[in-house]
C-alpha cells in the first residue's frame, strides 16, 4: 500500500519536473511551467485575476446540479417504463441505445438555437449527456433481476410497487449506481463543454477568456479548479457506489 503511494508520488514528481524543464525550454507563453501555475492559482483563489470566480463556480455548479437532477428523473422514468413494459422496451430500447452512440456534441448547436446562450442550453446539454447512461443502466438492471426473487416477493404478498421498491431497485443497484456515476461525469462534461463552446458566464467562459487572451497560466489555474470540481463529484459518487456494494464480495 505504501509502495503504491510512493510510486504514485514518484511518477507525479517526475512528470511535474519534466513539465517544468520542457516548458522552460519551449515558448513559455504557450507552455506554462508548474512554477508559473502556482502563483496564477494564488491570484485566482485570492480573486485577484478573476473576481467573478465564486459567481462563475456557483453558476456552473448550479447548472450541473439541475442537469443531473433532470437526467436522473428522466433516466429512471424512461428506463423503468421501457424495462417494465416488454413491448415498449423492444420497440424503443434499441433506439435509445443507438442515440447514445451518436457523439452528442453534434446536438449542441441546435440546443443553443433553442435555448439561447444562457444557462438553459448548458443544462439541456448536460441533461442530454447524462440521460442516456442512466436510462440504459435502468434497462439493463431491470433485465438482470431474478424472476425467482420476484415470485418469492409476490408469494409474501408484495404488490407491484413493493416489488419494484423492495426487489427490483436493490437487485439492480449495482448497475444503477454505475450508470448514475457515468451519468454524473457526462452531465459535468456537458455543462462545461457547453460553456466553453458558447456562453456568457460560468467556468467555461472564464477558461475561454483566459485562453483567448493568451493568459495561459491563468487558464491552467482555472482548469485546475474545474478539475477539483469534477474529481470531487466523482469521489462522492464512488463513495455511494462502495456503500451500495456492501453485501457483495
Amino acid at each position: 500500500m505504501t509502495r503504491v503511494v510512493a510510486l504514485r508520488a514518484a511518477i507525479l514528481v517526475a512528470s511535474l519536473a519534466a513539465w517544468e524543464i520542457g516548458a522552460r525550454a519551449a515558448n513559455p507563453l504557450l507552455y506554462v511551467p508548474p512554477s508559473a501555475v502556482v502563483p496564477a492559482l494564488g491570484r485566482l483563489l485570492t480573486l485577484d485575476s478573476y473576481p467573478d470566480l465564486p459567481a462563475s463556480l456557483l453558476l456552473t455548479l448550479r447548472e450541473i446540479v439541475i442537469a443531473y437532477a433532470l437526467a436522473i428523473a428522466a433516466g429512471l422514468g424512461v428506463g423503468a417504463a421501457l424495462g417494465l413494459n416488454r413491448l415498449a422496451g423492444r420497440v424503443y430500447g434499441p433506439i435509445v441505445a443507438a442515440l447514445y452512440a451518436v457523439p452528442a456534441v453534434v446536438w449542441y448547436p441546435s440546443l443553443m438555437l433553442f435555448f439561447g446562450l444562457d444557462a438553459a442550453s448548458k443544462i439541456a446539454f448536460g441533461f442530454l449527456l447524462g440521460f442516456f447512461p442512466i436510462t440504459l443502466a435502468v434497462l439493463a438492471g431491470i433485465r438482470q433481476v431474478s424472476p425467482h426473487l420476484i415470485a418469492v416477493a409476490r408469494a409474501f404478498g408484495a404488490r407491484p410497487t413493493a416489488v419494484f421498491v423492495k426487489v427490483m431497485m436493490p437487485a439492480m443497484l449495482f448497475t444503477l449506481v454505475g450508470g448514475l456515476r457515468t451519468g454524473l461525469a457526462l452531465a459535468v462534461i456537458g455543462v462545461i463543454v457547453g460553456e466553453i463552446l458558447g456562453s456568457k458566464a460560468g467556468m467555461g467562459t472564464l477558461i475561454n477568456h483566459a485562453y483567448g487572451l493568451f493568459r495561459t497560466s491563468d487558464y491552467v489555474a482555472l482548469v485546475c479548479v474545474t478539475l477539483v470540481l469534477i474529481v470531487g463529484s466523482d469521489a462522492v459518487a464512488s463513495l455511494v457506489e462502495r456503500r451500495a456494494r456492501r453485501w457483495t464480495d
Partner: protein, 258 residues
C-alpha cells in the same frame, strides 16, 4: 369438520414451444389442519404446480382451491407461507432482514418485526448469524433462513417445495429432523413436495403419490405412527417398499416420455 385446504378437481395446461402440455388433470385433495401432507411423484408430475395453486401463484385452468373455505385468488400471506427449493433469499438483506421480509410487507413496525425475527434465530440455529448476508451462509443455513422467513409471518399453512432438494444427504437428514421438531412445536399445516422416500416416510402424516404427466393422484398413504420414527423397523421398511413400487412405475413412464 371441514378441511383447511380443499383442492377441488383442478387441472392445468401449459403452452410450450413443442405444443400444449397437460401438467395436472382432475386432482382433488383435502388437507386437514395440523397435517404434514407430502406430495411425491416423478419429475414433471405437477407437484410444484399444485403447490403453486394452493399458494395462489398459479391459477388453475379447471376446478378451484379453497383455503379455510374461501377460494384462492392470489397469494395470501395471512394464511399461506411458501418455502422454495431455491431459497430465494434477498442477497442485499442480512439473515434478520430476510426473515423480517414478510412482516415488513404487512406494515409491522421495525421494533416488533426485529423482535419476532430475533426470537426465531434460536430455533433456526442461526443465533450468531443474524447480521450475515446470504453469501456468508452454507446451503443448509440459507434454507433455514428461508424457512424462518416463512415462519415469521405465522400463517396456519406452510408450503414447502423440495426445500432440501439441493442439499447434500447428511445435511438433508439433519434438516429433516430439525423441521420435524419445528413442526411438532408449531403444529402448522404443512404441504411438502419431495423426491425423497426417506423424507416422505420420516416426516409425513400422509403421503400422496402422483402419476406421471398429466399429474393425477395415484394413491394416498396414511402414516399415523408416532415420531421420531424408527426408519429401520420392519414396518417402515415394508412401507418404503410399497411406496417405491407405486412411484417406480410412474418414474419409468416419466423417463420413457423423455
Amino acid at each position: 369438520m371441514s378441511d383447511l385446504i380443499a383442492v377441488d378437481r383442478v387441472g392445468k395446461r401449459y403452452q410450450t414451444s413443442s405444443g400444449p402440455v397437460e401438467a395436472l388433470r382432475d386432482v382433488s385433495l383435502p388437507v386437514g389442519a395440523g397435517e404434514f401432507c407430502t406430495l411425491i411423484g416423478p419429475s414433471g408430475c405437477g407437484k410444484s404446480t399444485l403447490l403453486g395453486m394452493i399458494g395462489g401463484l398459479v391459477v388453475p385452468d379447471d376446478g378451484r382451491v379453497l383455503v379455510d373455505g374461501r377460494p384462492v385468488t392470489g397469494p395470501d400471506p395471512t394464511r399461506v407461507a411458501t418455502v422454495f427449493q431455491d431459497p430465494g433469499l434477498f442477497p442485499w438483506r442480512t439473515t434478520l432482514e430476510n426473515v423480517e421480509f414478510g412482516l415488513e410487507l404487512q406494515g409491522v413496525t421495525r421494533e416488533r418485526r426485529r423482535a419476532v425475527a430475533t426470537e426465531l434465530l434460536g430455533p433456526l440455529g442461526l443465533r450468531d448469524f443474524g447480521a450475515k448476508y446470504p453469501r456468508e451462509l452454507s446451503g443448509g443455513m440459507r434454507q433455514r433462513v428461508a424457512i424462518g422467513r416463512a415462519l415469521a409471518i405465522d400463517t396456519p399453512i406452510v408450503l414447502m417445495d423440495e426445500p432440501f432438494g439441493a442439499l447434500d444427504e447428511q445435511t438433508r437428514l439433519l434438516m429433516g429432523e430439525w423441521l420435524l421438531d419445528i413442526w411438532r412445536r408449531t403444529r402448522k399445516t404443512v404441504v411438502f413436495v419431495t423426491h425423497s422416500l426417506h423424507e416422505a416416510l420420516a416426516l409425513s402424516t400422509r403421503v400422496v403419490v402422483m402419476t406421471a404427466r398429466p399429474g393425477r393422484i395415484k394413491s394416498v398413504l396414511d402414516l399415523p405412527m408416532p415420531y421420531p420414527r424408527a426408519m429401520e423397523s420392519s414396518e417402515m421398511v415394508a412401507l418404503r417398499a410399497t411406496l417405491w413400487s407405486g412411484i417406480r412405475d410412474e418414474s419409468l413412464r416419466a423417463m420413457g416420455e423423455r
